[in-house]
């Protein structure tokens, strides 16, 4: 069910350098949104930017939702200037969602701000699953490691990797993933992997998952014209032909993607 609404902005704060957390009220959309789904947001009511921008549900609760975003270009720039009380033109919920994790929990892997949807996933995990879960967060530097506290508050263990070594392990999230997988090798059924981040990272995650025979879901990003499946702009090659990230995804089985 796709709905177009003017959500009410409740807050919009810079929680880390260039990283903003926006909270909105919008009961109709929030009541049906699932972790992994996304919104198409008109960042400004003015003429620019022309197209909407896609953002994942970062958290779905209290009659509304949060989005967590990085200022990267004109759309996110104007979004960061929006203020409490203003209306935000959104269409959602869009796309598919993560499949539920088993009681054995989930291994969540994120690169940078793409950690956003994994928090929504974590919030919906059953309590037991949470204690068995782990979130691996990678970023360039310490200040870009986001959501550590969110996961911990949910009772989920967090491991961190930074490229410059300023926090956690120096290196990539995927290296941590290998370590974590080795540690949980014997659990049955095998813990599934959920990954969001840059394409190069997801590709590596997919490789690891395949080697270790883990179920693995990745949330892809592609430039989107519409988010609703009509422009065919967000195509991705899969083993069963061309698929649309906005309609058939954004969540895919890692093994189905032709990287």
């Amino acid at each position: 069910m796709k709905i177009q609404r003017r959500a009410k902005i409740l807050s919009n704060k810079e929680i880390a350098p260039e990283r903003f957390l926006m909270r909105c009220e919008e009961p109709a959309i929030s009541s049906i949104a699932e972790p992994g789904q996304f919104l198409m947001v008109r960042c400004s009511d003015g003429p620019a930017p022309f197209l909407r921008r896609p953002f994942a549900f970062h958290s779905i609760r209290d009659n509304g939702f949060y989005i967590l975003y990085q200022v990267i270009g004109p759309g996110t720039e104007v979004l960061s200037l929006r203020e409490k009380g203003e209306g935000l033109d959104i269409i959602g919920p869009l796309g598919n969602s993560f499949s539920p994790a088993s009681e054995n929990g989930a291994v969540m892997v994120a690169g940078g701000v793409a950690v956003a949807p994994l928090v929504a996933l974590a919030e919906r995990l059953p309590k037991k699953a949470r204690t068995n879960s782990i979130a691996i967060i990678g970023a360039g530097t310490k200040s870009h490691i986001l959501c550590r506290e969110e996961f911990r508050r949910l009772g989920i263990k967090v491991e961190v990797a930074t490229e410059d070594g300023s926090a956690g392990r120096k290196g990539l999230a995927t290296e941590l993933l290998k370590k974590v997988i080795a540690q949980t090798e014997n659990r049955k059924p095998k813990t599934a992997i959920y990954a969001c981040g840059p394409k190069a990272m997801l590709k590596e995650v997919a490789k690891i998952a395949k080697q270790k025979r883990r179920r693995c879901e990745v949330s892809l990003e592609e430039k989107m014209g519409c988010g609703t499946g009509i422009c065919l702009g967000c195509a991705v090659k899969t083993t069963s032909g061309i698929k649309l990230v906005c309609k058939d995804g954004p969540v895919f089985n890692a093994g189905d993607i032709i990287w």
């Binding site: 422009c231 702009g233 967000c234």
Partner: protein
Amino acid sequence: MVGPKKKREIDLGVVIGKIRMKNPITVASGTFGCGEELEELTELGKLGAIVTKTVTKRAREGNRPPRIAETASGMLNSIGLENGGIDRFIADKMPYLRNIGIPVIVSIGGERGNEFIELAERLDETDGVSGIEVNISCPNLEGKGQGLFSQDAKLTYGLVKKIKKATSLTVITKLTPNVTDITKIAKAACDAGSDALSLVNTYTGMAVNIHTRRPRLGNITGGLSGPAIKPLALKAVWDVYNSVDIPIIGMGGVATTEDAIEFIICGATAVALGSTNFVYPNKYVEIIDGLAYHIKSNKMVNMNALTGSLKVRKR
């Protein structure tokens, strides 16, 4: 028997070939899918007609990503006519389209002339098709080599002539604006018997990521659409309106009621919304209402007095 003076109803209806549209507002091929994906967000039945994504004989995968890049007041696309081919179109999409209850115009495309003919023949026998839009203007076809059909008046004439023979459906020829003189191509299509013209397809352009030094589109170049092109499209419509006598479906950057009226004043019988559908899938409903209001407040009763009403004073 003179009854009480009745308030005259406003009639927004227009005629394109044999197609009667209850209002002049339709959608541009490739910017609305076949309607399905938007049914929850809008009221499909209100459209004057629906124009489908271009369908080709065989399925096409389309171009490599990225396929979309935003530019100032517009967007570039290089979709590359991704579609499932005519068989799947007729089997999967036509049942839905038929059911909307508005005229269905199927856009067809291809690389060779006989593909168009075959498509026209197939659609001629298909239930629920009201018209064919001949897309000889897609800038994103691979292997085109020598340019598009609609960049050459003779090729356009020859192709349209054959398509007209192959079908009794209304034939609308969609032209590219990437030509020196669009009126020449328009006249060729008209002479060949085209029932109407769709103007315009996208303008070829490109964009570059200066950090990677790569094109922003996987296919390097693409077609520009959106508000940026409106002034250009409007002139194409006005020029062609002054050159041929068949109806024009105007498009290119229509985002507001005012935009649609500009196209109508410049001679468009109908107006299609394109990229705007991506942003505001329900915009056409607002535009249809806005148009009715404009007609009413200008004390008109139908579209006749507005269409082509541009006032041009001579020196």
